[in-house]
Symmetry: C2
Subunit: 198 residues, 2 copies
Amino acid sequence: MPQPHLEFWFEFASTYSYVAASRVPRLAGAAGVPVVYRPFLLGPVFGAQGLTDSPFNVYPVKGAYMWRDMERLCADEGLAMRRPSVFPRNGLLGARAAIAVGREPWLPDFVLGVYTANFAEDLEISKPEIVARVLRGLGQDPEPVLARTQDQDVKDTLRANTDEAMAKGIFGAPTFTVGTEVFWGNDRLDHALAWAAR
Amino acid sequence: MPQPHLEFWFEFASTYSYVAASRVPRLAGAAGVPVVYRPFLLGPVFGAQGLTDSPFNVYPVKGAYMWRDMERLCADEGLAMRRPSVFPRNGLLGARAAIAVGREPWLPDFVLGVYTANFAEDLEISKPEIVARVLRGLGQDPEPVLARTQDQDVKDTLRANTDEAMAKGIFGAPTFTVGTEVFWGNDRLDHALAWAAR
C-alpha cells in the first residue's frame, strides 16, 4: 500500500496560501506526512464559477475581513505581512517556476519566497526579475529555472494541474487533498494531516 | 474594565453554525469565556452582497464540498448529520424564539436543538410545531416562547441584531466577535476564544 501523502494546492495570488506555505513544511514534517506541491491557477477555477475577479474583490466586506484576518494570522505565525498595492497579482510565472523547480529539496523555500515577495515585500511576482531575486536569495542560479518556465511541458503540467484541481472539486486556495478527500483553506491543514496520518 | 466576552452570531439556516452551536458551550466553558448568543438573519446580509440564495447553492462546487466537509466535521464532533431535503431552511421563527428565550440557562441547548431538528432530523424548523417540539424536549412549555416570537420587541431585536451584524462587517455564519474583532467560521472559534482570553 502506498504511503498516504498530502497534496498542497496553491496559487501565488492567494493570501491564505502564503500562511499555509509557511505552515505546511513544519506541520507535515512533525506529522511525518510527505507533501507533494501542486501549483495551479485560480483564474480558470473562478471563471468556471462565473467569477471574473477574486471573491475578496467581488465581495468587498469579505475582502476587508480577509485583510484583517491575515494580519492576525501572520502575527501569530511570525510572518511579515504588508497589504500589496496590487491584488490579486498574476501567479502564472511563479507557478511555472515552481513546476520547473520540481522536487528539489528547496522547493518549499522557493514557494514561501515568492509568497513573501508578494505579501510582505509588495513586489511584482509576475516579473522575471522578481522570481530571479527569490531564486538568488536561496543561492540558486535563476537562469535555468526561468528558461524552463517557457518550456511546453512545464506549461502543460500547470494546465493539467489546474484541470485536475477542477476535476477534484477544488474551488479555492489553499486546498489540501489526501486521495479523494478535499480540505479547503489554511485552517483545514491540521484536519488534512490527521486524515493522511490515520 | 468589563470582562471580555465572546459574541456568537448564528443563523439557523447555516450548516457550520450547527457544529459551532455544539462546540461553543464546551470550548468557551473550558476557556472561562462568557458567551452572548446573537441570532441574526443571513438573508439581508447576503442580499447586501448581491446574493439571493446561499453561496453553497450559488456555487454548487462549493456546496458539494461543504456537505462532505460537514459529514467529516460532525463525525469528529460526534454529532448526527443528515443532509436536509430543503436547504436553506427559513430560520426566522427559530431566531425569534432564541431571542424570546433570552438569557435562560437552557438557551444553548435550545439553539443546538433547533439545529439538530434541521440538520440531523430533517424537520421544517420554520413551523411552530417543530420549535415547540424542541422546547418540550427540554422540558419547557412552548406556548410562552411561541407567543413571544410575535411580540414587536422580539422582532425588533432580531432586526437590530442583523443590522448590527452588517455594521460590524459580518458576512456569513457562524461568526464570533470579541469587541471589534471579527472571526468568521466554525474553525475560527479557538482563535476567537484565545483573543477573548488574552
